[in-house]
């Protein structure tokens, strides 16, 4: 993304050394972490218990984001659904990073036939459209949020492997790495001391970006009903439940807005890591 490099006006909107948007993104992320770690601090309402007589109420002082078709408080459901929405995206990212990172590392560092074999495997993973790949894995292993997370992780292996491979190849042909090898450095030493530290930043930036993408993919899978069934409160599932009540649009817009703002904040942080950190 080149959006940061375009204008001299980039100096505007800063607080201290960092752009305002980055600080806001950190604030959003802190709130999301708070929601998932200690949801009861943020809402006193029960996310699973509703009064049917008070169903489909519009937002008010008592119910900040209104109530759903069973009279449950929507804000409480969003807050309590954060843990599962966010940790499953985290699991997906860790799987992609670990498996893809190792594949890319082996491919770029060892070269030769290892590179060829892994290269074909990556091509294969890229050839099956990402979302369909996740769908296939979930449908084979069962409709559960943990399987959704694993499937999303497997679908993101290729992206990590490709980036790691190109980063490793870039540094392992650099002069200082050749020098280190000529000076008698063992491959493990060269790898840990020179290659990985240089690949580190772009891989971390991709991991953060992929965390946001995983939230979107997982929300899509939950929306289609492939995650834990209701009364689970995954953000995507909340949108899916809300869409059946078009006269109460807040049931769709509130959880959707939470997804969008979270992903926007994560994407902004990824860009910040890539350019400034």
């Amino acid at each position: 993304m080149s959006a940061t490099t375009f204008s001299p006006a980039g100096r505007r909107g800063r607080v201290g050394a960092q752009p305002l948007a980055v600080l806001l993104s950190f604030a959003v992320l802190a709130l999301v972490v708070g929601w998932s770690a200690a949801p009861w601090l943020f809402t006193g309402n029960d996310p699973f218990f509703g009064v049917t007589a008070r169903k489909l109420l519009p937002p008010s002082a008592e119910h900040w984001l209104g109530t759903d078709h069973l009279g449950r408080d929507l804000y409480a459901r969003i807050v309590h659904g954060t843990w599962s929405s966010v940790t499953s995206a985290l699991i997906a990212t860790v799987i992609g990073l670990a498996v893809g990172g190792l594949l890319g590392l082996a491919s770029g560092f060892l070269g030769g036939w290892v590179d060829t074999v892994i290269g074909r495997l990556i091509d294969m993973l890229l050839a099956i459209p990402n979302f369909l790949l996740a769908v296939v894995i979930v449908s084979a292993f069962g409709f559960q949020t943990i399987n959704v997370a694993i499937a999303t992780g497997v679908a993101s292996v290729a992206v990590f492997a490709r980036l790691m491979r190109s980063e490793v190849m870039k540094t392992s042909t650099a002069v200082f790495v050749e020098a280190s090898a000529l000076a008698g450095g063992r491959p493990a030493h060269v790898l840990l001391r020179h290659v990985l530290p240089n690949a580190y930043r772009s891989v971390v930036a991709l991991a953060v970006l992929q965390f946001g993408t995983s939230i979107l993919t997982i929300a899509g899978l939950a929306f289609l009903g492939y995650g834990d069934p209701p009364p689970a409160a995954d953000w995507g599932l909340l949108v899916a439940n809300g869409k059946d009540y078009p006269s109460s649009p807040w049931l769709v817009f509130a959880p959707a807005a939470v997804i969008v703002v979270t992903v926007l904040a994560i994407n902004r942080l990824s860009r910040w890591i890539r350019h400034a950190a």
Binding site: F6, S7, D123, L125, A127, S139, P246, V252, V260
Partner: protein, 321 residues
Amino acid sequence: MSRQSFLPFAARRLGHALVVILLAYSFTFLIISVLPGDPVSNMLLDPENGFTEEEIAPIIAHYGLDRPVLEQWWRAISRFALGDLGISLRASRPVSAMLLEALPSTLVLAGTAMLVALLLALAIAYASQSLPRRWGQGVARVLPALSLSVPSFVIGLVLIQVFAFQLGLFRITDPNGAAATVFAALALGIPVSAQIAEVLIANLDHEAGQEYFAVARARGLRLSQLFARHQLRPSALPVVTMIAVSIGELLGGSLITETIFGRKGVGSLVQSAVVTQDFPVLQSLVSLAAVVFVLVNLAADLLYPLLDPRLRRRAAAGRPA
């Protein structure tokens, strides 16, 4: 690229594509049929599903489920290579017949979505170069990043809420009408357009920094001429790559879009195959998606030397393209 160097290049790419298709089929086969333990007979033998002995026998025989896994894999992949997509467990019909029924609707949707995506991406890219720097360009440049943060089902639901329920521009009860199709294509095309726009803007910026661009501007070319001749044309290659890659996005996204808009197409066929655990349908459709993706990207690869004279010259000079 001369003919002597193009043919080996094309042959190598074709071989590569075939290997990838073979691997993709095997991988889905592994996930669907092997790892969780043969879902077909699990489902057939489940008394809740009420299959009779006479129904089970031919299906078991058709899939050779009593054979070793490797033999099953070989049979499955040879059938697939010959165009036999298998039989649906739920509809008891050939998958190919179901696919042919669903295909036209999805082709119309995906084609319109691609058109919408290209037009939107071009408009945003042009705005990013021509609008006043401070605000106009900023907005045009933020738009793609913004829309990539919105889940595609949300785009669809918002379009339905605003344009069908509030403004009454189309009726959700008639999902195949022209207006409904355009809005469905919009929902499917917006994320794709954002990806294309990002690549396009980065390349346009790169071209705008080149010396020949400064020379052309100094010669007094109008902005639109500069844009079309000196920015857009050299950026064609990455854009074609991006279009080819986003075919996967269209295939995957049609699942959600068709479900939301209530269209009957390949995407909703996959969705119902997942919900009803109809594995032969799932295996064939997902493998076909991979085939389409690989072939489109192969075509894009082969197009490059035709699109970009610089690649032809490099190949003629004996350097790798």
